[in-house]
Amino acid sequence: MKPALLLAVACAIATPAVSETFHWAGTTDPNTMDPHAGNSAPVLGFLNNIYEGLVRRGTDMAIEPSLATSWEPIGNGEGWRFILREGVTFHDGSDFNAEDVVFSYQRAASEASDVRSWFASVTDVVAVDDYTVDILTSNPQPIFPDSIANWMMMDSGWTMASSADLPAPGEGNFATLNANGTGPYVLAERQPGLETVLEPFEGWWGEERGNVTRGIFTPIDNSATAVAALLAGDVDMINPVPVQDADRLDGVDGVRLIRGTEARVIMFGFSQDKDTLFGTDDANPFLDVRVRQAVAHAINVPAILQTIMRGSAEPAAQLVGAEMNGFSEGLAMRPGLDLDRARALLTDAGYPDGFSFLLKCPNDRYINDESVCQATVAMLAQIGLDAQLDAIPVSNYWPELREDNYDMYLLGWSPGTFDAEHPFRFLVHTPQDNIGTWNFGGYSNARVDELIPAIQSEIDPVARQAMLDEVAATVQDDVVYVPLYIQPLLWGAADNIELTQRVDNFFILRWVTVE
C-alpha cells in the first residue's frame, strides 16, 4: 500500500459546476477490507458497496435478490436452495459461480472467521450445478435468508492466489487491504485511517446506481471537525451529526439534516443472578420484579427524549422497534411515568425508603449515553433510589459488565437479522457458551429458553409470531429490561446530495446521487 496522493484531485475536480465526486466522512474507519474478518457495522456497511451476498436488503430493509435470483426451502426444513445469477463477474474479471459460494462458506465458517456464528446451524453447502447451491441445516431455519444478507461472496481463485484463503483478523493478509467483489464499486485506493476511494465497477450486473464516479471516504474522529468540514463544503455528507448540532445544521443554507431512527434500542438491564448488591452484603433488591417495575415507572422517557435527544428519538416498549420483523403489535405500550405507583411498588417490595446501588454506563458508546444516565439518576432519586453513577469508556465497559461490577446498566442492541428473535437469543436466553452471550444480568426463564429454539425453527409464520409474542410479553411482565428509546440516526448532507438512509446505519453509495 503506497501512502499518498489524490485527496486533492477530488478538490480540483470539485470546482467545476458538474461533479460526480462524492466525499463523505464517518467517525470509524473500517478496520479491514476482508468481509469475513470483521463483524461490525463500520466494516460490513462499507463492504456492502464492494462485495455482495446471495441476498441484500433494499431501501425498506426487506430481503431482495442479489447474487441469487431466487431461493426456496428444501423438503421439510432440511435447508435452502439458492439459484444463482448468471453472467456475474468479479472486479478482476473472473466469473462468479457455485464454487465461489461453497468457498465463501468454508472461509466464512472457518475457525478464524469473525462471522462464523451465522453458520452455526449449517451442516453443509453443496454445489448442485454451476448456478445452484444447496445450504443444508441441522434444523429448520425459516429466516435463514434474512440472516445472511451480510455474508459476502469472495472469488476462490483470487483469494487463494493471494494467500488469503483464510481470514486473519489479528494479523492481516492481502484481503485486509485489497478487495475483489462483485459489487457496484471497486476499491480504488485504501489508506487505513486516512482515506478510502471507491470507483464504479463497469461490469456490474445491476442497473440501479447513482451517478457517483468517485466516492471518497475519510474518517473524521472529532465530530466538531466533521460538522465544520460539512459546513465548509470540504465533505458532502457526514455521519453522525452530534445531537446538539442537529438543530443548528437544519437552519444553515446549503446543508440539511437527515433524520431517521436506527434499529438500535437503548435499555437498562439489571443484575438478576447475584444475591447481593455490588460491593456490599445487602440483599439484591433487583431480584424482586416489583423493584424493576418501580424503576420502569420512575423513568420519564418523554422528558429524556425532549431534552437530551432534542426530539430526535422514538420511545421503545420492546427490545426491537416497530419496523422489525416479528414485533409484537399488542405490546407497543411502554410503562408510563407514575411516581406514586413506583413508590407503592417499592414499599410492597420492602424498600419504602429506597436503597443505594451502582449504575454503570458507557460514556462514548451511544448518543449522549452519559447524559441519559445522569438524568435517570435524578429521576430515580424522586422515588428514593440512590443510584451511584459510574460512566466509563466503552473499551472498559464490557469487561466491567462481564465481571458483574454493576447493579443496573445501560445497553443498546441492534438486531442483526432485523427480527425480534435476535435480541431474545442474545439478551434473554439463559447465558451459555454460544447463546445468551450478552445477557449480562443473568435472567433465566425455562419457558423462554424452550421457546427460543422453537421460534428459530418454526416455519409457520403465525405460530412463530405467537411464540414471539409470548416471549415479548414475558420480557415485559418480568421487566427483564427497561427499554427506553430507539436511537436516532442523524446524518448531515449538502443540499445537492440525494441519498437514502438505512436503519442499520449502513451507508450505501449506490443510493447516492449528486445533483
Partner: protein, 327 residues
C-alpha cells in the same frame, strides 16, 4: 568525560525501561481490545481464544518483556486495528507530524522573535501593549478551542482554507510531503498556527524579557553614547545577546511540539502519529500505543541527553566535579 558519558547513557536507558514499564502497567486500564476486535455475535470462547492468542492473559510484566524482546529485534508487532506492522504504520504517519512540527516551530520562532523585539523596543507603545495582551490569549486558550475557532473563521465563514486533512501530498522517496502542492501548503496553515501559537507567545515573552535586560546593560549605553544608530544597537548588539537562551528553549520545545501535536492533529484530522495514537487509545491497540510511547520517550530522553552532553562540553564546573577537588 568518558565515565560521565557512560553514566548519562546508562541513566537514559534506565529511564526508558521505567517509562515502558509504567506504560505497560497502565494499558489494562485503557480497556480490553478483544471487544473491539470481535463483533456482537462473539462467544465467550472466542473472547478467550483471542485473548490467549494476543498474550493478554499474561501478567503485564510478561507482556512487557515480550514486547522488549521483539522490539530489540526491530519488531514492534502488528496493530490490532489495522493488522499491519506497527513500524510500517508509524513510518507512514511520521512525515505528516514532522512537517507540521517543523512549520509550526519555524512560525513560532520567526513570529516570536519579531514580536519580542517589537514589544521590547516599543515598550510603552500602543501596538506593543496590544500584542502583549493578545499574547495572554495565546498562552491561556486551550489548543482545541483555538483550532475550532480558526476552522470556523477561515474554513466555514470565509472559505479560504481547508477544514481538515493534509491536502494533496507528493511522495518523494518514501516520504510524503505537503510542501510541493498548493493544497498541501494551504492545509498546513491552520494546524501550524494552532500548534505553534503557544510556543510563539512563549518565545515572544522570553525575547522581550531578555531584550529589556540587555538594553539596560552598560555596553548598550556606551554604544548609544558613541552615537551608533538605534537600528544597529537593537539588532547587532542587543538581539545577538538575547538569542542564546532562546535557542536553548526552542530546542527543548521541539520535543513537546511533536508530542503535543496530538490535540492539533485530532482537531484537524491531521494524519500524523498523534492522531494514530488517539485512535489507538480508543481501540485499545496496545502495540501501537506501546511503540508510540517508546518513540516519544526515546525522543525526549535523547534530547535531554544531548543537552546534558552540551552542558558538559560548555560548562567546566561539571568537569571539575568529576575530577574531585580541583580548584
Amino acid at each position: 568525560m568518558l565515565a560521565y558519558t557512560i553514566r548519562r547513557i546508562a541513566q537514559s536507558i534506565f529511564v526508558l525501561f521505567v517509562v515502558g514499564l509504567v506504560a505497560f502497567s497502565m494499558f489494562r486500564f485503557v480497556g480490553d481490545p478483544v471487544d473491539n476486535m470481535l463483533g456482537q455475535e462473539r462467544t465467550q470462547e472466542d473472547v478467550e481464544r483471542l485473548r490467549e492468542q494476543l498474550g493478554l492473559d499474561q501478567p503485564f510484566i510478561v507482556q512487557y518483556f515480550r514486547f522488549l524482546e521483539q522490539a530489540a529485534q526491530g519488531n514492534f508487532g502488528l496493530s490490532y486495528r489495522q493488522g499491519r506492522p506497527v513500524a510500517e504504520i508509524l513510518l507512514e504517519r511520521a512525515p505528516a507530524t514532522l512537517e507540521l512540527a517543523f512549520v509550526s516551530g519555524m512560525m513560532a520562532l520567526a513570529g516570536g522573535i519579531a514580536l519580542g523585539i517589537f514589544t521590547a523596543i516599543r515598550r510603552r507603545g500602543f501596538g506593543a501593549n496590544v500584542v502583549m495582551t493578545l499574547s495572554l490569549i495565546g498562552v491561556s486558550l486551550p489548543t482545541f478551542l483555538i483550532g475550532i475557532l480558526l476552522i470556523y473563521l477561515f474554513s466555514v465563514e470565509l472559505g479560504w482554507l481547508p477544514s481538515f486533512g493534509r491536502g494533496e501530498v507528493v511522495e518523494v522517496g518514501g516520504w510524503t510531503t505537503g510542501f510541493l502542492t498548493a493544497s498541501g501548503l494551504k492545509a498546513l496553515i491552520l494546524p501550524s498556527i494552532t500548534l505553534g501559537l503557544y510556543q510563539m507567545t512563549l518565545i515572544m515573552r522570553l525575547v522581550r524579557t531578555e531584550m529589556l535586560e540587555v538594553l539596560r546593560m552598560d555596553y548598550i549605553r556606551f554604544a548609544r553614547a558613541r552615537g551608533l544608530r538605534e537600528k544597529s544597537i537593537n539588532f547587532r548588539h542587543a538581539l545577538k545577546n538575547t538569542l542564546v537562551p532562546v535557542i536553548t528553549i526552542t530546542g527543548l520545545q521541539l520535543g513537546s511540539i511533536i508530542a503535543f501535536a496530538i490535540i492539533t492533529e485530532t482537531v484537524f484530522q491531521w494524519p500524523g502519529v498523534g492522531l494514530l495514537f488517539i485512535n489507538a487509545i480508543q481501540f485499545v491497540d496496545i502495540p501501537v500505543m506501546a511503540a508510540y510511547l517508546m518513540l516519544i520517550s526515546v525522543m525526549f530522553v535523547g534530547i535531554n541527553l544531548i543537552v546534558d552532553m552540551l552542558y558538559f562540553a560548555i560548562d567546566p564546573r561539571l568537569r571539575a566535579d568529576r575530577t574531585s577537588g580541583g580548584h
